[in-house]
Amino acid sequence: MKDILVTRVIRWKKQVLSVLFWLLFPLIATSLFISFTEKIQQDTQVPIGIVLGEETPLALGVLDAIEQSPLVEVTQLTEDEALIQLEKHALDSVFIIHQGYEEQIRKGNRTNLITSYRSDRSLAYSPVKEMVVSFVQQETIRSKAAYVVMDLETKYKREIQRDWEEIIQKSKEVQAEQDLLHTTFQFQGATQPKNENPLFTWNVWGIWAVFTLLSTLLLLDWVIKENSSNIRSRFTFTKIRYHHYVVKNLLFYLGLFIIVDGFTLLFFYHYFSTQINMFVLFTFRVMITLLAFIIALLSKNVYLFYCGAFAFTLFITVISGVFLPVNGFIQEITWLQYVNPLHQFLSEEVTFIWLVGSIILLCLWYFRKEKVDA
């Protein structure tokens, strides 16, 4: 084993850069992709100004609700300042929550609670206005409901009578639990992060899996190169038979992959706070390495193999839905899940079916060679 490792190290020394590049490619590409799309999302947020005339719980509630939206970037400032910024087009629009807002709401008054300003270049004014109005309306209705509850409680002489604040609080809790109006685009296998509320949530490990498919295939191109090389004729006169040599080399690659995967695990945990079951990751890695190896064994021409690797990755990307939301159509076609080697990994399951399949194919190849060579 050590001798074979020495031969592999000699070969690796000639391709340090390309081997390192493709080993780290899934990690780097995934990180860049996620950072880049998050940056774009931030850049496309609409800047709006909010002026608070009072700091009552209800007024702060509206501010908070607007700030939670991924569509806008909220600045809180005074009315004068806000209008100057608006004139300079630094703000898209300005919303002023007047003094007496909470009192008016409690009274059930729904007019003149908020004043809005916009400039001739307020592109996003209408949707933002709709959003603000809907928040205000929601709060007004909530308040009205609270009074109705209080009336009923008085009428039926309940022992503990709750006040307005308590009922409002309770209703917000119920709403949060039910989460009726929550919509974000969901990608295959993506989990919702706890504290943020972005427009898109990526499945970090899903994106990594796609890049990994590509890099694993490309890293195993040596199988084809050495298969078709004149060198192969020399293996009749070596202490190790050619298919043993190839399999041992594959194990070295698998070792490298697993080391890099461990590093990736820590990296993603640290920077994207995503976790993954180590066994899920391990089975996926073994399966994808064996699969790439089998594809390489079946290939005769390196350039066709490269083209095939890109095409295959693209196909898997589309049917996996890690870059495009596919909830609608792909999930209907169940057989696609079985032809997709990434499917179980994307669902955070242990890669079982494809792993067993790959192992069987590998054994078939291995024992056939064993027979031919004997």
């Binding site: 074979i4 009749t236 202490k239």
Partner: protein, 223 residues
């Protein structure tokens, strides 16, 4: 001693080798000649255990080719017709690479000496910067790492200059005498054959090569 008896080889209906019987003794260099497609490489493949004969028996030092292939392989050095070395590795890396896979362990010093004996002095240079002659020498050196007793060379000197040719020839002669090596090699160069070989085997239908060698005084075996 390499013993070949009633050797036949055919691919489907196509008979390539018909009833070959001869013996090679230690220290002997045998030339193998014949027109293109006569079956020279085919014969060397069979003697190298790379392919099997259709009929006939071969034995090396009383080891049978049919039952003791593994032992026989350790005694055989085969120099392929196409250069089989890593083009992107240096001479040193090539030698170390194949030494690690070989049955016999050798130090770097020993490997280097092996190259220098056939006047291959480049060591740290990548193979793709070497001349054709030097590549041929390396191709030969790699086949000798495990100290074989039989050396089979398929056109070892094709396409290289006269000086390298002579150097390889001298080296082979020395090896045959000093290490009692049995050498069989093919070539289309009759001067080379005349100079190096003790005996010549002619195969193929064309009598051209046989006629050319008639006046050389060499023992000719033809099939």
């Amino acid at each position: 001693m390499l013993n070949i008896e009633s050797l036949h080889k055919s691919f489907r209906e196509n008979v390539i080798l018909h009833n070959l019987t001869f013996t090679v003794n230690p220290g002997e260099i045998i030339g193998l000649v014949g027109e293109n497609g006569a079956g020279k490489s085919t014969l060397l493949h069979i003697l190298a255990t790379i392919s099997k004969p259709s009929e006939g028996s071969i034995s090396l030092n009383d080891l049978s080719y049919t039952t003791e292939r593994k032992k026989i392989r350790k005694l055989i050095g085969y120099v392929p017709q196409d250069i089989a070395v890593w083009e992107d590795l240096t001479v040193e890396e090539n030698m170390v690479f194949f030494e690690k896979l070989s049955w016999v362990n050798q130090t770097k010093e020993e490997l280097r000496n092996l190259c220098q004996e056939m006047k291959l002095y480049k060591w740290k240079e990548p193979v793709n910067t070497l001349s054709g002659g030097m590549k041929r020498k390396l191709n030969l050196a790699i086949s000798l790492i495990h100290h074989p007793k039989v050396l089979l060379l398929d056109e070892p000197t094709v396409g290289i200059d006269l000086k390298s040719r002579k150097e390889i020839g001298t080296y082979l002669q020395k090896q045959a005498v000093e290490n009692e090596l049995m050498i069989i090699y093919t070539s289309h160069d009759m001067d080379e054959i005349n100079e190096l070989c003790n005996r010549v085997i002619c195969i193929g239908k064309d009598p051209f090569y046989k006629d050319m060698l008639l006046n050389s005084g060499k023992e000719i075996i033809s099939f």
